[in-house]
């Protein structure tokens, strides 16, 4: 493509696509440094207690074994802010699967065999891993995850609920979920004299460098963190995980480059999970459908060593106008692995529950669920009172309804069938906050007429290289093919992580700024460029992190059609359709991919995914991709993502909102609501697997619990 200002929005192909499909792209374990060896963690075999002895002799006698690190001999590190990184520092065992030793050997196979030969003795204590809504140790934390207040309240929600003519009082249950990216958490660490070079699978190398410099007391300029290509993260690589700390320790201890590629079976315990959430929602409305009270209370678990409270009640502070509201989170510290970030933390489970309850309210009112949502649109953000920078939820709902054929829907539950199949359709809304952070970037014009932008962005499979080149080409007013982007290396200008749907906005803002500055320089100069070109720098500190007077969120609407087999209880999605209002869409191809990826993950959350906490042992039963059921191709039907052209001048120079998570939010609720429409039965515990659905189909039909 040529011309100026045309690079944004075009469906440019991923620049590393060919490299990836031909195997040329290097991931963190694929840097065969001379003398490189491999390490394998030994997971704790008890859920609570402490290590009293680690017998390593047998392991060290095995062929290829080089070293066994334990809490007795591992390098000491400065206490990390994130307690899950304080590995091999004390004999304490906070949960089953916690690394209690690390074996280093020549090959991965030798490391695995030696790890199996390490014998660990424990002083075992009784553990408790069962989350219940009335757990005696439930407490109200000061903050939920991401700094949100644990509790917000206005009006008199209890009084308003008690006196309302139409009420819904329902509980929902979302099980533990795991991110399970294709590439497991992996790091290769190499000490080059007093320099540390790390290849790691992370969503943000700048943060990895900051943590390593702190833990190992190194000056920043002696640490380089490379994350060239990352095989997915979904939040689980948003912050450094134990693999990188273990790899650096082992490299220091052995004097050799060391790769730690966490085995798939270790991931559920070591790299985080979405904590289970128990939701209670009380919605009250007048007979016309206007909300008079909204209460969303969440109980979740966290681990003994880390408070991470899934902020699932937070979206209820954004979504609907109501004169009375209470949203609160309670947590129980259990002897479980530490929960952590997973795609759309808070919004994903929270909007499942809220949007399911809204569907129940629509049923109780005898009202169309699209109309109910439109009716309760707030003029300002309910919790903060701020005006929205842009909010086009109504447009998404109406456009989605039009495309989906919603007007042909018979609202009666259990009204459509095909032989043994019950068919139904459902709708749910989506919201995700606009997040953005300060970033640096550099733009360089070269004498040959090409340009290079450099920023330590990370491509976790989303197309970051491509979209940043588009942002640069647009700001420079040059054809896209003349711009190259360099990312994935902490020696580049520092930048925040690919997470919270903030990457493109954060990096793009600084790239845009550097390119604008560079264009100015080029415009005011004459004659050829010097051999090294000319360079402009940008830093959006103070800009990107400035408080906004606006409430900034993306919105969307999901529609789903399901078939429920009354013979087996199997639920299969027939079609999904999402419409999103997420500011300016910067790359139509990669954006679509992100939207439908998020929707597919929502399909998994609704129907197939879930981890089982084994109360006897304190670990998750599903430890591989055969048993943790992410949707297979056969589960993913006709799936469409659309967006509306949304202009918002209060975001960033590109006018974009994040798109990595909004596709996921609400999609599970749309499917659950469709299952209710199909069956007349309201299922309130995910995932909707045949065991639950078949049992539900045997129960008498209900159409909500409206009061």
């Amino acid at each position: 493509m040529t011309g100026t200002g045309s690079a944004l929005g075009v469906p440019a192909e991923r620049r590393e696509g060919r490299q990836k499909v031909t195997g040329g792209a290097r991931y963190a374990a694929e840097h065969p440094l001379p003398g490189r060896v491999h390490a394998w963690p030994v997971p704790a075999g008890v859920a609570r207690g402490r290590v009293t002895a680690v017998h390593t002799e047998a392991a060290l006698d095995l062929p290829g074994a080089l070293a066994v690190l334990t809490h007795d001999n591992a390098p000491r590190i400065t206490e990390p802010d994130d307690p899950t990184l304080a590995v091999l520092q004390t004999p304490g065992v906070p949960h089953r699967g916690w690394p209690v030793a690390l074996v280093v050997a020549r090959t991965p196979e030798e490391a695995r065999a030696a790890a199996e030969a390490v014998r660990v003795e424990y002083a075992v204590e009784e553990h408790d891993v069962r989350l219940t809504a009335d757990h005696p140790e439930a407490y109200e934390p000061e903050k939920a995850n991401a700094g949100f207040p644990a509790r917000r309240e206005w009006g008199d929600p209890d009084g308003a609920f008690a006196s309302a003519p139409v009420r819904v009082d329902v509980s929902y249950h979302v099980p533990p979920l795991h991110n399970h990216p294709m590439e497991p958490h992996t790091s290769t660490a190499h000490w080059d004299g007093d320099r540390l070079v790390v290849y790691t699978s992370s969503q943000g190398g700048t943060a990895v460098r900051a943590v390593l410099t702190a833990l190992f007391e190194l000056p920043e300029d002696r640490v380089t963190v490379v994350a060239d290509h990352v095989g997915g993260g979904f939040g689980s690589k948003g912050t450094p995980r134990p693999d990188v700390v273990l790899a650096v320790m082992a490299a220091r201890e052995t004097g050799r480059p060391v790769t730690v590629a966490l085995p798939r079976r270790h991931l559920p315990s070591v790299v985080g999970h979405r904590a289970p959430t128990l939701h209670r929602l009380r919605l009250a409305a007048d007979t016309g459908g206007r909300l008079t009270a909204l209460t969303h209370e969440v109980v979740t678990h966290t681990s003994r060593i880390k408070e991470f409270v899934e902020q699932a009640a937070v979206p209820a502070r954004v979504m609907y106008a109501t004169p009375a509201s209470r949203t609160l989170h309670r947590a129980v510290r259990l002897d479980v692995p530490s929960p952590s970030w997973m795609r759309a933390p808070g919004e994903s489970p929270g909007m499942y529950a809220l949007e399911s309850a809204m569907d129940e309210l629509a049923g109780a009112l005898g009202m169309d669920p699209v109309d109910l949502r439109v009716l309760n649109e707030p003029e300002r953000e309910p919790d903060s009172g701020k005006p929205f920078s842009s909010r086009h939820l109504t447009e998404c709902l109406r456009e989605g309804a039009r495309r989906f054929g919603w007007d042909r829907r018979d609202p009666r539950p259990r009204a459509r069938g095909e032989g043994p199949l019950l068919l139904g359709t459902g709708v749910a809304a989506a919201t995700y906050p606009v997040l953005v952070g300060p970033s640096r970037a550099e733009a360089r014009a070269l004498p040959d007429g090409s340009f290079v932008v450099r920023v330590n962005a990370t491509d976790i499979g989303t197309g970051a290289r491509t979209v940043l080149a588009q942002v640069a080409a647009d700001a420079l007013g040059v054809p896209l093919e003349r711009v190259r982007s360099e990312i994935g290396d902490s020696d580049l200008p520092s930048a925040p992580l690919a997470g919270g749907s903030s990457g493109t906005a954060s990096w793009g803002w600084s790239v845009h700024r550097a390119c604008t500055e560079l264009a100015d320089q080029l415009g005011s100069r004459t004659g050829p460029l010097p051999d090294e070109g000319i360079t402009a720098h940008a830093d959006t500190a103070g800009l990107a992190d400035a408080d906004s007077p606006y409430a900034r969120h993306a919105f969307g609407a999901h529609f789903a059609e399901v078939a429920v087999d009354t013979v087996t209880g199997e639920v299969r999605v027939r079609r999904m359709l999402g419409v999103f209002a997420a500011g300016r869409i910067l790359n139509a191809r990669t954006a679509r991919s992100q939207f439908i990826g998020g929707m597919t993950m929502g399909l998994g959350m609704a129907l197939t995914e879930g981890s089982t906490m084994d109360a006897a042992f304190g670990d998750f039963t599903e430890a591989d991709l055969a048993s943790y059921h992410v949707p297979a191709h056969a589960d993913v039907p006709a799936i469409e993502a659309h967006w509306i052209d949304e202009e918002d001048a209060h975001l960033n120079p590109m006018g974009s909102k994040g798109i990595g998570e909004i596709g996921n939010v609400g999609s599970a609720a749309a499917i659950g609501n469709a299952v209710h429409h199909a069956t007349g039965v309201r299922f309130r515990e995910l995932p909707l697997t045949p065991d639950k659905v078949l049992a539900g189909l045997a129960r008498p039909v209900t159409s909500g619990r409206g009061g």
Partner: protein, 339 residues
Amino acid sequence: MKPFGYLRAGTVREAAEALAEHPGARCLGGGTNLVDLMKLGVERPGLLVDVSRLPLDTVEELPDGSVRVGATVRNSDLAAHPLVRDRYPVLSQALLAGASGQLRNAATTGGNLLQRTRCPHFQDLSKPCNKRTPGTGCAAREGTHRDHAVLGHSEQCVATHPSDMAVALAALDARVELDDGRTTRDLPADRFHRLPGDHPERDTEIRPGELVTGVVLPAATASLPSAYRKARDRASYAFALASVAAVLRTSEDGTVVHVGLAFGALAHKPWRAERAEAALRGGPATEDAFARAVERELEAARPLRDNGYKVPLARNLAVDVLTRLATARNRTGTTEEDS
């Protein structure tokens, strides 16, 4: 890693001798389950006998009209074979319901029969498991067992056999051929796998030194109406929550002439529903009769805390499949073998 020997067998006899000489040796076919288990440390064979190149890779019709399937025929090839698709649709459907396309391309007929349970505790060395290490206990009975057995389990073991293919073989009255290098014998497919009893470490009736050389699909069940149906958590690449294989022949007046019925994922072996078959034989091929017979079969079920759903699920599957087979016959008036 534990070193192991590797022998590429050229003849059945060579393979059988190697198995006899090396207790604990394992046959390597497609490796789709065995190699995983070796990585996990669940299987630690001293010797792998690679049988994948033995001349057992054909599907052939025998003079008596039966069909012999070699042990190394790949699952994908078997499912697609015209003889199987035409005469034994239940087998083709069962194979295609199993695993994923990639796995089916590698997995063999013999290996499918000899695959181990996917009980999560069996696969986890840090957990007790009587099947993996006799005498250590069973972590599933009181632990996670939504996917486990409701029929024929023991105090020792509540695991299920994961094969789809084997369920179809049981319903078809297939026979499994075994060879120890000197003599051959065969077993009915529904007697090849065992119930756990006090020896859950033994999955099958195979004797030390024997290998599976093939499966014979009998002429008697060729071209009878048959079907397989499987319920599962996701549409592909998931083990059955319950499955059913059915073969049904009815007469002109709607009487059951022949019925073969087997359940998958309910027990330590494909569960041949002999009581239901006996109840149906000679009786009317109606939905009511199917329901009564299947319920009678499932009276023996002893569900665990979290897998009671399997009983109504299996019932529904069996009644659905049998009714469809009966209805299909009525609709077409005659079945192929009648015409």
